[in-house]
């Protein structure tokens, strides 16, 4: 084989950037339409009032916060894969690191929309920024929601920079092979990368530092999100297990989302040789681990509720399993803890279809986990007279559709315009 393995990698990956066919653009167009539906729904909500959603008293938070936590959770695995596994020198993460990081960036952006959507007066959101003003009003840094603002924006900044830094050599490769307008754009994007030895030295240092910087964020961001609940006093929220429980759940859902995205990607762009089944299998094995942690957390919550002898606490947990939202509860339990156990069977975790189906089911399960946490606790809290139920409305579904479409829309554009697998990192693990 005269061609080196390196140029094969380049070619395979650059092939994904060739002009797309009609079906791709139809798909992108449909996703764009979905985004417009969501935007229309949000506009309607801004004009009429947040009441067009299903939130009420006592359930003041609905799908907006569920989706927020869901997308923040999804955002976790990208950094986990690209940063933590990079520090651990787990070579199998190299083919998927870029896609996972991209997923992180778009998921954080999507998640970041929801606190705005959820606000009663979205137009006053700047009150949350520490902007100097003549009344000396300052945001309340005691509030977990302020923690969120800080944590999410830090996470977004760091993950975007990490993502972009990692992409620099790849952008230069594209620049070198592009012509015309495209060349000009990539010249700017690649920031004059020449591939000099000094540049490589600085680059690999920077990448390592970013990885080290991003690692604590993986833990901190979802811990902070969990404090939105754990620092509240509602039964089922006010518990110390929440931070690790949320982090494990986030990684669980993030890994599942990576599978959900990569499996179609590798068949669509003929990346089967690069994103091998072994990589997918490794993800599946990690999912078994995170699934067990999540299952343990579920069990612990029930144990503590029983052990506390607090009737408010026990009522909520008994109600979760048997009450009005028991279907949602059991979807959560089965999809997140039981179904991933199927990955113990080699046949299941080495077949594309079961891998894909299970990954989608875990995503569904994790969405319902957030539903169960956010809805049931306040629906059955301290004062029985004020108990109530919640059901999402069409507007909420419209906004949810819009944001899911936005995520996939952005991701679809990404895979066709930027390298979805890191050529540089692939070369690191390939013999020349």
């Amino acid at each position: 084989m005269p061609q080196s393995a390196y140029s094969k990698i380049d070619r395979t990956i650059l092939d994904t950037l060739k002009p797309a066919g009609r079906s791709y653009w139809i798909g992108v167009g449909l996703l764009g339409l979905g985004v417009l539906v969501g935007a229309a729904c949000w506009t309607y909500q801004l004009l009429v009032g947040i009441g067009v959603g299903g939130q009420n008293n006592p359930v003041g938070w609905g799908t907006y916060l569920i989706n927020f936590v869901f997308w923040v959770g999804i955002a976790h695995s990208g950094t986990l894969i690209s940063a933590i596994l990079h520090l651990f020198r787990a070579g199998w993460r190299n083919p998927i690191a870029r896609a996972a990081e991209t997923m992180t960036v778009f998921a954080v952006c999507t998640a970041g929309l929801f606190p705005f959507i959820h606000l009663g007066r979205a137009w006053m959101v700047y009150f949350m920024l520490p902007v100097p003003n003549q009344r000396n009003l300052w945001p309340n840094f005691q509030s977990p929601l302020m923690f969120d603002v800080v944590a999410i924006s830090t996470y977004l900044t760091v993950s975007v920079m990490f993502w972009y830094t990692g992409m620099l050599p790849d952008l230069a490769i594209i620049r070198d092979r592009a012509a015309g307008m495209r060349k000009k754009i990539f010249t700017v994007l690649s920031l004059g990368w020449t591939g000099a030895h000094e540049e490589w030295r600085h680059y690999s240092r920077a990448y390592l530092f970013f990885a080290a910087l991003a690692t604590p964020l993986v833990i901190s961001v979802h811990s902070v999100v969990s404090w939105d609940f754990a620092l509240g006093i509602a039964p089922g929220w006010h518990t110390t297990i929440f931070a690790p429980y949320f982090v494990a759940g986030a990684i669980h859902s993030g890994l599942a989302m990576v599978l959900t995205l990569l499996i179609p990607l590798r068949s669509m762009f003929k990346l089967k040789e690069i994103i091998t089944l072994r990589v997918l299998e490794n993800i599946a094995k990690t999912i078994i681990f995170t699934g067990l942690i999540v299952g343990f957390a579920y069990g612990t919550e029930f144990f503590i509720a029983w052990y506390s002898h607090n009737s408010v606490e026990t009522t909520v947990f008994a109600w979760r399993a048997t009450g009005h939202y028991s279907v949602e509860f059991w979807i959560m339990v089965i999809c997140n803890t039981t179904i991933p156990l199927l990955f113990f069977f080699r046949k299941v975790r080495t077949h594309i279809i079961p891998l894909f189906v299970i990954s989608v089911l875990i995503n569904v399960g994790m969405w319902f986990e957030r539903f169960v946490i956010i809805i049931t606790s306040v629906a059955r809290d301290f004062i029985p007279h004020a108990w109530g139920l919640y059901a999402p409305t069409l507007v909420e579904f419209g906004i949810m559709l819009g944001t899911f479409c936005l995520f996939f829309f952005a991701f679809a554009l990404f895979v066709k315009h930027l390298p979805s697998v890191s050529m540089t990192e692939m070369k690191e693990v390939t013999a020349p």
Binding site: M124, W138, P139, I233, V378
Partner: protein
């Protein structure tokens, strides 16, 4: 473009702009140049007047700001209500500002109403009544609600001038059975008052005196005067006997659920017990002997079998009754139900004469004005006569017969006849007014001169608190215009009131007139009339009645139409507050579902929310069912007051009017109707309906929310368990530095300066009537969200009455007013990212509306769930916004709100105190809820002032905090309800 085109275009532009853009028409409520004499912008003016929402006639103060009434409160000087109002009284405002109020006179032409001028309507009315008078005597008829002597005299005078005497006073609850019993037993042809406060035992055979009966605000106060715990003692007891749990029954120590009509049997049984115990000597031997013979058959075992009450409870009641030194026996409810209503009242009165020979509990002087209402039998015969000979002119004054009477009484036929010219003075298009020929709205009581003494022996004046909103004339002006040679208009109404009071000997001079108007009336008792001689009881019509008692229906379904504390007979149904505030017992807002015992529902495979077809001999109604433990099996309860034809947008049309199932019959002896009818079937219609109930759970699941303490524990001074950290043992943690403990608290106490506002809620005094909630709606500009939004859980009430049933005895009830607890360690405060909930230096948890961005975290974190979010911009159709309190912000969509402890009143008191260079004294600030509470269950004050009432009350052994173990240190401190065991 050439020059000419340019000029043409610019010319036409200029014209269209100047023609199209009118400036907004001026909307000044008042002119600062020519402001009314007593008006200072920003300062309220108060006018004393009288509430006319029901016949009780409570004194009322109208608060005027910038020329319009924005709030009504009870008149503290008034003898009836002593400064308190019920929720209907509070909602008076929504009558004058009702968006469906008729603004002009309307004349029916070819079946349709056309607006005409008031002058034309008046001349038409004068002409038609003159024609009718010319045709012969008694051709002009008046059907009015219960009115004061002043208006009554005007009606009589006008009728006399028109050669007629047919003046009928119609009240749907006219107490015929009670009146008859009073005549037969007390020799009083009318309705005496009761000195409830002096009793140590009340036995009510259904009288719902906390809701609609005679004078609910007055009796609620007097009831709590005898029944509430004082210090560590409680002496008063109250037994309620009746087939359904009214609010009054829910406040009784025991509710003895009996079959409809069995109350009289219980009374007979009790008479037998009393006579056997040697009481009744004052009746004379003959009467004693007859009664002994008559009641011989009513052994308690037999009474128990007939009534369905257990013998043990009857035995207990009988023992308590015989041990009581000052018992009071009350008769049947306002809507007397059951076949033996007259006998029950006779029984109650007989018991009173046997056990209270001096009749000290009976006030023969303070007779209730509603006694002037005609008996239902007379109303029916009037209607039938009118239907038989529909000639002349019928004047209707707030008599909504088509709504309040069962159909088939003849009035519908009479109204439909062209030869009878019907004029309605109503301001609302109610079921009867719709069928009038001429609608001539007159001023509502808040805009009128008048007099209405709810009880004999007092004068209670009405004066216009604001200019008439619609330009309608005074009723007395209209009536005077029908008399030749009288020139009404101008100051006629005022002058004629003055002359009336002068002629009746009440006023001596003009000074007294001014004083009377300022005080709202003359309340000192006139010379006590002599008590009418007590009739001899050995024989008489009462004995015949007692001998003719029919045993109550055992088995088979029946329906009771119960008066509503919210809308009375339906006259309040167009006041949105009254529909929005849920019923105290069912917690159902807007609707009046049929209440069915769960066992009866289960038997028929029905559940709450099933739409059932309720059928009687007279008709069939489809209505959702509500599973209620407040009734006995097979007896269905439906609230009176909804199911209107017309009556504006707020009256509920989809609810049904129970009267459609009733026959237009009356009792032969008393002339009263039965608000009770046997049913043939109830069937499932197959549909389901959502019930708009605001309670998430009917029980408190064993939590420390609404607590009660047995009398014996209180008397023995039983100590609470040793303080700990669990829900049951957490100590009282005052919202003061004293309430902080390093072991529990991470943060230091708030440094309050001089004031720490706090409220004490005495659950032993709270009767759950909901007046506080209505006052809060009025004072704080709370939005009405309507039925659909309430179903979604979006009601905006800052103050709600939580109703909890005992899981073991679901017929037992405890009420708990729930409002923002103004916690010292408030969970809502730290979670807001922008400091919208803010702890003030006086301890109030302020909500800064314009800082709020609507994260709703505060509400999520509030364990009491008292925060309300503005999900939308709420609608207030014109002219309802005129009622808004200018001192309180109207909240826009997207912000959180909640009880502010009426911070505007606190600010006001501070301003006054500062001007006078002193501190705010105890009692100077009263939030709207505490102001109106008929039983004084709410006390507000400064906890840092050791001499304030609240500071003294927190040391009460009954004091506790709801869910105190969360260490929120609420400033609303509850006193446990005191219950009698057994």
């Amino acid at each position: 473009m050439d020059r000419r085109t340019f000029l043409k275009l610019s010319g036409s532009c200029a014209i269209s702009i100047s023609a199209g853009c009118n400036s907004e028409p001026a909307k000044h409520l008042f002119s600062m140049v020519r402001a009314p004499q007593d008006m200072v912008a920003g300062q309220p003016t108060w006018y004393a007047t009288t509430c006319r929402e029901c016949p009780a006639g409570c004194g009322m103060l109208a608060k005027i700001r910038e020329g319009r009434v924005i709030k009504v409160e009870g008149n503290p000087l008034h003898a009836i209500n002593r400064g308190r109002l019920c929720m209907r009284g509070q909602a008076t405002l929504q009558g004058i500002y009702n968006p469906d109020r008729i603004k002009t006179a309307l004349l029916k032409h070819n079946g349709k109403f056309k607006p005409i001028s008031y002058a034309r309507a008046l001349s038409l009315l004068a002409q038609r009544s003159r024609q009718a008078a010319d045709r012969g005597p008694d051709r002009v008829y008046v059907l009015t609600e219960s009115v004061g002597e002043f208006v009554h005299a005007h009606f009589s005078k006008t009728l006399a001038a028109l050669n007629s005497t047919r003046l009928m006073v119609f009240e749907p609850f006219a107490y015929e059975a009670l009146k008859t019993a009073n005549r037969q037993i007390f020799g009083l042809d009318g309705l005496c008052a009761y000195r409830m406060q002096t009793a140590d035992l009340i036995v009510s055979l259904g009288a719902d005196f906390l809701e609609t009966w005679l004078s609910p605000v007055e009796y609620a106060r007097k009831f709590k005067a005898m029944h509430a715990a004082r210090g560590n003692a409680k002496t008063g007891r109250f037994f309620h006997i009746g087939p359904y749990r009214s609010l009054t029954a829910a406040n009784a120590d025991r509710w003895l659920a009996c079959r409809p009509g069995a109350e009289a049997f219980v009374a007979m049984g009790l008479i037998r017990q009393a006579l056997n115990a040697g009481a009744g000597g004052a009746l004379g031997p003959a009467a004693q002997q007859t009664l002994r013979e008559l009641t011989a058959g009513y052994r308690l075992e037999k009474v128990a079998a007939v009534s369905g009450i257990s013998t043990d409870i009857l035995q207990h009641l009988s023992q308590v009754m015989l041990a009581s030194r000052r018992p009071l026996f009350l008769g049947t409810p306002s809507a007397a139900c059951g076949p033996n209503a007259l006998q029950a009242n006779i029984g109650a009165n007989l018991l009173q004469r046997i056990l209270d020979p001096e009749l000290q509990r009976i006030d023969f002087n303070g007779r209730h004005r509603v006694e002037t209402a005609h008996r239902r039998s007379e109303i029916y015969s009037f209607c039938r006569q009118l239907a038989a000979d529909p000639q002349g002119v019928l004047l209707l004054h707030n008599a909504n017969l088509r709504h309040c009477l069962p159909p088939q009484n003849g009035i519908a036929r009479a109204l439909a006849e062209k030869t009878l010219f019907t004029v309605s003075f109503s301001n609302f298009m109610d079921a009867t007014t719709r069928h009038a020929d001429l609608v001539l709205p007159v001023r509502l009581p808040l805009e009128s001169w008048g007099e209405y003494g709810g009880k004999a022996g007092l004068v209670s004046t009405l004066q216009p608190a604001m200019p008439a909103l619609t330009g309608a004339p005074h009723l007395v002006d209209v009536l005077a215009a029908l008399i030749p040679d009288v020139r009404p208009g101008g100051r006629y109404a005022r002058h004629s009131l003055y002359t009336h009071l002068k002629h009746t000997g009440v006023l001596r001079n003009r000074l007294q007139w001014t004083q009377t108007l300022q005080k709202g009336g003359i309340f000192q008792k006139f010379a006590a009339e002599d008590r009418p001689p007590l009739p001899e009881l050995a024989e008489g019509p009462h004995m015949d009645a007692l001998r003719a008692m029919v045993p109550p229906q055992a088995g088979g379904l029946s329906l009771i139409a119960a008066p509503s504390i919210r809308v009375f007979d339906g006259r309040g149904a167009n006041r949105p507050w009254l529909s929005e505030i849920p019923d105290p017992l069912t917690k159902v807002a807007w609707q009046t579902p049929v209440q069915v015992h769960p066992a009866t529902l289960a038997q028929r495979g029905l559940a709450q929310g099933s739409v059932v077809r309720v059928q009687s001999e007279k008709g069939v109604l489809e209505t959702p069912a509500y599973a209620s433990h407040g009734t006995i099996p097979d007896v269905l309860i439906m609230e009176i007051g909804q199911g209107h034809a017309g009556f504006g947008r707020y009256a509920q049309k989809e609810s049904v009017n129970p009267f459609h199932l009733f026959p237009a019959r009356t009792d032969a002896r008393s002339g009263g109707p039965a608000f009770y009818t046997p049913l043939t079937t109830i069937k499932d219609s197959g549909q389901r309906a959502d019930i708009v109930h605001t309670d998430g759970s009917r029980t408190q699941h064993g939590r420390q929310i609404a607590l009660a303490v047995p009398v014996s524990d209180l008397v023995e001074g039983k100590r609470p368990p040793a303080p700990g950290l669990t829900m049951e043992t957490f100590p009282l943690t005052l919202p003061l530095p004293a309430g902080y403990d390093k072991k529990r608290d991470f943060y230091p106490a708030h440094p309050h300066s001089r004031y720490r506002w706090s409220m004490i809620v005495d659950l032993d005094r709270c009767i759950g009537c909901g007046a506080c909630a209505a006052a809060c709606y009025a004072e704080n500009n709370l939005a009405v969200v309507g039925k659909a939004r309430m179903l979604e859980g979006r009601e905006m009430s800052w103050m709600r009455i939580e109703r909890y049933l005992d899981p073991e005895h679901p017929e037992r009830v405890i009420f708990l007013p729930m409002l923002c607890q103004h916690c010292d360690n408030a969970p809502c405060e730290p979670v807001c990212p922008v400091y919208a909930p803010h702890h003030s230096k006086e301890g109030i948890n302020n909500q800064i509306y314009n800082r709020c961005i609507g994260t709703r975290f505060c509400s999520q974190n509030c364990p009491y769930k008292v925060r309300r979010f503005n999900w939308f911009d709420w609608q207030r159709p014109d002219p309802l916004p005129l009622q808004l309190n200018p001192d309180v912000t109207v909240r826009a969509k997207g912000v959180m709100e909640k009880c502010s402890f009426c911070v505007q009143r606190i600010k006001d008191a501070h301003d006054r105190a500062k001007n006078a260079k002193r501190a705010v004294f105890d009692g100077e600030v009263t939030p709207a809820c505490a102001q109106t509470c008929p039983t004084q269950a709410l006390t507000f004050g400064n906890l840092m002032d050791p001499h304030s009432r609240v500071a003294r009350l927190v040391h009460n052994p009954r004091a506790y905090q709801v869910m105190g173990y969360l260490n929120t240190k609420p400033a609303v401190i509850y006193l446990k309800k005191v219950i009698w065991e057994g």
